[in-house]
Symmetry: C2
Subunit: 400 residues, 2 copies
């Protein structure tokens, strides 16, 4: 078998920023396409049949593609400056698990597939879990086609260039019906497993998660000739909003609100900006609390803008309700992994989208740094290699 660390080492140079050590692998970039080629090669080496469905999801089949399949996998795209494990670990562990099962001489009673979902991070088109949302119908193909990246390219054009005909993206009940059960293995993205001193956990639920864009309009002008009192500076207004957002979220138990992207227009040093776009990522275990928090933030942004002669518009870009995973499946997975602990997670995953359509579970691998979406995200070699056998144990339980 090929060790998971060996599989990951083979792609360690793809899309890596040499200065920061972070990965930049947006969907259908050269980097992500190189990763897709790597996936095809690894599948071919194992004699797995590969297909690319009409939403750009990759499938590698052990056994004939068909209904009641046990499906595992994850994603290969990254956030800008992400870590090495977020996504690829689940794909590499899936190949490793196939190797382990074969070495055990195990013959699956049902087909097994490894899937790779595009644009899980939403870092290119702003909608997280885009592939699984299209597959399940949670995102309409019309809405998807007109999404644009930072350079103004539409999703339709980018998918077409990636070999996916954008006319045919959208709900795919036949493909979905083949999934009997889906299990995603993923690096844990917080400190959840550190306290347990255990390498693996089973997911209990995923926090609800919304993305919102705030556009603040003021009046562009010259930084030298315009007196402070004459300004309608959207950067100052937006900065006040950022502060208020952190305060509001900080005052609500278990809430998170993050501004990680903030873009003044035109963005010149000696120019009072004419507008600012910034994005809010908001989460709480209780969707009603997230909704109330965002309503408060919306009102506050309006007030702050008005006080500075600006205007602010807050728009929801995506919304994923809190997902509780199938408790029976979670119980079976936990039992197969030596009574692995159950964890809630704040991070979104394709598994969270698929859970609305098929029995779905997740396995988490310990992250000793407790940091993710950063080059500091970390999995020990021992845990990475052990994840193949752990996933094999879980799959064997489901395939038997």
């Amino acid at each position: 078998m090929t060790a998971v660390t060996t599989l990951l080492t083979a792609i360690a140079g793809i899309g890596r920023d040499a200065r920061s050590g972070g990965y930049v692998r947006p969907v259908f970039s050269t980097a992500e396409r190189d990763l897709r080629s790597w996936f095809l090669a690894e599948a071919a080496q194992r004699g797995l049949d590969v297909e690319v469905d009409r939403n750009g999801i990759l499938w590698a089949w052990w056994g004939l593609a068909g209904p009641d399949a046990v499906v595992t996998g994850s994603h290969l795209d990254s956030v800008p400056g992400g870590g090495a494990f977020d996504g690829p670990l689940g794909v590499a562990a899936a190949f490793g698990a196939v190797d382990v099962l074969r070495e055990r001489g195990f013959t699956p009673a049902r087909p097994l597939a490894i899937a790779v979902f595009p644009e899980e991070e939403g870092s290119r088109f702003g909608v997280a879990c885009l592939g699984s949302r299209l597959l399940t119908g949670a995102l309409s193909p019309d809405a998807a086609r007109t999404l644009t990246d930072r350079d103004g390219n539409t999703l339709a054009d980018v998918f077409a260039a990636g070999g996916i005909d954008p006319r045919w993206i959208g709900p795919d009940p036949e493909t979905l019906a083949r999934i009997g059960v889906f299990v995603e293995l993923h690096v844990e993205q917080g400190r959840g497993l550190i306290d347990f001193a255990r390498p693996f956990a089973v997911a209990e639920s995923i926090l609800g998660h919304g993305r919102f864009k705030v556009s603040v309009r003021g009046e562009g002008n010259h930084a030298g000739t315009t007196l402070m009192a004459d300004r309608r500076d959207p950067v100052v207004a937006a900065a006040a909003m950022v502060g208020a957002i952190a305060e509001v979220a900080g005052a609500i138990d278990d809430a998170r609100a993050t501004v990680g992207r903030f873009e003044p227009v035109p963005g010149g040093t000696n120019v009072i900006a004419s507008s600012v776009d910034f994005w809010i990522d908001a989460r709480h275990p209780d969707d009603a609390v997230t909704r109330r928090m965002m309503a408060d933030i919306d009102r506050m942004c309006g007030d702050i803008a008005a006080a500075r002669g600006c205007e602010a518009v807050l728009v929801e870009e995506s919304w994923s309700p809190t997902v509780g995973f199938d408790p029976t499946l979670a119980g079976r997975l936990g039992a197969a992994l030596a009574d692995a602990p159950h964890l809630r997670t704040g991070a979104g995953h394709d598994a969270g989208i698929l859970a609305s359509a098929v029995p779905t579970g997740m396995l988490f691998v310990r992250n000793p740094s407790g940091i993710s979406h950063s080059p500091e995200e970390y999995v020990t070699d021992a845990d990475a290699d052990a994840s193949a056998a752990a996933l094999a144990d879980a799959l064997q339980e489901l395939l038997s």
Copy 2:
């Protein structure tokens, strides 16, 4: 003669963003190089000899290049999203003024040159008036060569690609010695001329002007899994700094401090940034006040960063002291323009740099919007066309 409006119409499409109507003409971009070609063509059409000096400054000569020349001109680069007049008006008016003087049958007793200075806005490499600073020695060639643009290109590479050998940039006493007097005509960038109901003014002084870069380091992490209390979020810290900067400047009579460029790294929606870079443009008529204000801001940024578990480093990128223009020259220029009013300005100009080396003056043209560094910057057709004769009057006074 060619009307100034006709000259400007010929370049109205170069580097224009169709959506915003603003101009993006960074030094040695395709747009700015197209403008340089336009300059060469207009000079050739008037039989003016053209040279490009070793700092990339363009010179078009009426008469033999030589000492004691009367030099006029401005710049062709723009801030991102700038107006149509900031820079090009002074160049177009210079060609118009040559036409007017020739129609008057005037024969200059001294050589006349039209000059175009590169990177006046500093929008590509961060140092305003870069060409005139190199010429006069206010910026060392070693420091200049290693400046980088947003894409990481060095000034040395960009200048080389633009046909300027970066080994030879730097102080150029021989070229400087040819300038007997320099007069720059420029669109007024504030509301200064609106109240006078006059089309032209003479510059009295330029506000001191500093550019500073603030780098805030925190801890990058996952937006969903990291509790608010566990964060060291540099965006929240930097946003608080932006608010504090506006407050400090607002409390000092006649001070300006602007943050127009703000860049979280890596800049993903679902990523707590690991760092933020932002830039401060600071100005006050009294340099000591600007220095004190920046010392306050530096201390405040440190305090705000520390309170949020971050670190902030403030670095001066450029500094231009307040410049008072030659009062005798200003008097002659004002008299030649029907007793034009004298104005202080908050905007920096190459004339402000050259004033340290040669007798220098400026003429301002009314801007009815009072807005600059924005597509809303404006000069009426009548004022633009009249600027040729006004500049001709001023030059004739100096050339006689």
